[in-house]
Amino acid sequence: MEEDLKTSAKGQILSIRDLPTLPKVLDEVSRLVQNPNTSIEAIAKVISRDQVLSAKVLKMVNSPVYGFPGRIGSIQHSLVLLGFNVIRGVIISTSVFDIMSKNMEGLWEHSIGCALATGLVARKAKLKDPEEFSVCGLLHDLGKVVAAVQLPELHKAVGEAVRTQDLRWFEAEKAVLGFGHDRINAWLAQHWHLPPTIKEAMSSHHHPERAQFYPLHAAAAHVGDFVVRVFEYGSGGDDQVTPLSEKALKILNLSLADLDEVFDGFAENLGEVSGVSFAPEDADPGKGKA
């Protein structure tokens, strides 16, 4: 049974009711997908009804992160080439773009960078369906946004702790909230019925050795997070590297030298990837930029 998440600060909870609403089409599509008679065409039709969303999804999937840059001409094609799990992840990510950009500067760039890096790690490790791994990287910090929106005071306190005590964001979260965004991620993934692979990556990327059933996904997202921090593209809330888990590399069967190719690919594709973002939907010429 789903419950609200209680933080260690009295009275401050993360409530299910206040979670960002996902696009309506996602609900409908998730139901469709469970029916064995549903065609890709039918799914595409439903998603395409939300034209604004579809345009964003197409922009995302045509970036170098997803294996077929510039080749995907329609939602239907994206489903055929990337599969539903990936498209669902992209839909979720684009729908929280606004909230992310407004509430935690640099987090969107960090997430896209992590998607790129995690996909590169998966490719180097010769894993199947690397785009699913990319989505793990894309969504790995969703929990931070949820906390920022629902508990702005505590969010501020976390930032303070990072600044004054030189903590990593994850450490500061644990000090202030009593748990890290990995816990929030697990809760989120449960509520949004995300596939177990993505859920595992979201909840275990800081401790991939604790992954229960999908250590490859957790390990890849962990290494992806490390890579994007080395390059300081965007921000996960602090300017430190995460401790790189030797075990994670072992599980992926990668050596440090193998990572060089990942670094190469990351630097090369950063320019393209940085173009992926969306004009604010409620642009008000009078307001200016904060």
């Binding site: 950009s101 760039e109 030189d166 990593r168 921090r229 080395v230 390059f231 300081e232 593209y233 965007g234 300017d239 430190q240 590297v241 401790p243 790189l244 030797e246 440090l256 030298a257 060089d260 670094f263 630097a267 950063l270 320019g271 940085s274 173009g275 973002s277 969306f278 004009a279 604010p280 642009a283 008000d284 010429p285 009078g286 307001k287 200016g288 930029k289």
Partner: protein, 108 residues
Amino acid sequence: MQKIPLTLAKAGMKLAKPITKANGMPIIAAGVELSDALISRLDGMGVDKVFVVGDAVAASQNPSERVTRLDHLFRRMGDDPFMSKVQRHLREYFTIKAAADAAANGKG
């Protein structure tokens, strides 16, 4: 020079390329410094990307910059032997890349 979405533009950044109308006619010249007012004007005009001087992607992609940042990024890793090894490896990786870049630019 870096192409960024308008949403990430901040006052103080300088335009690296002019803003032009669809037919190519420049309406705001290169070199102009962005202000909040100008940014919201651009937003109202439907501009969604601008080329600005310097910045984030460039810094990420610049290997010399990466080398100098390593100590700062790894500052709390202390004596951990594995992380020291990782840091050394990264230093070597970026140093070689920086040298390769310098050589290529020297010839260009």
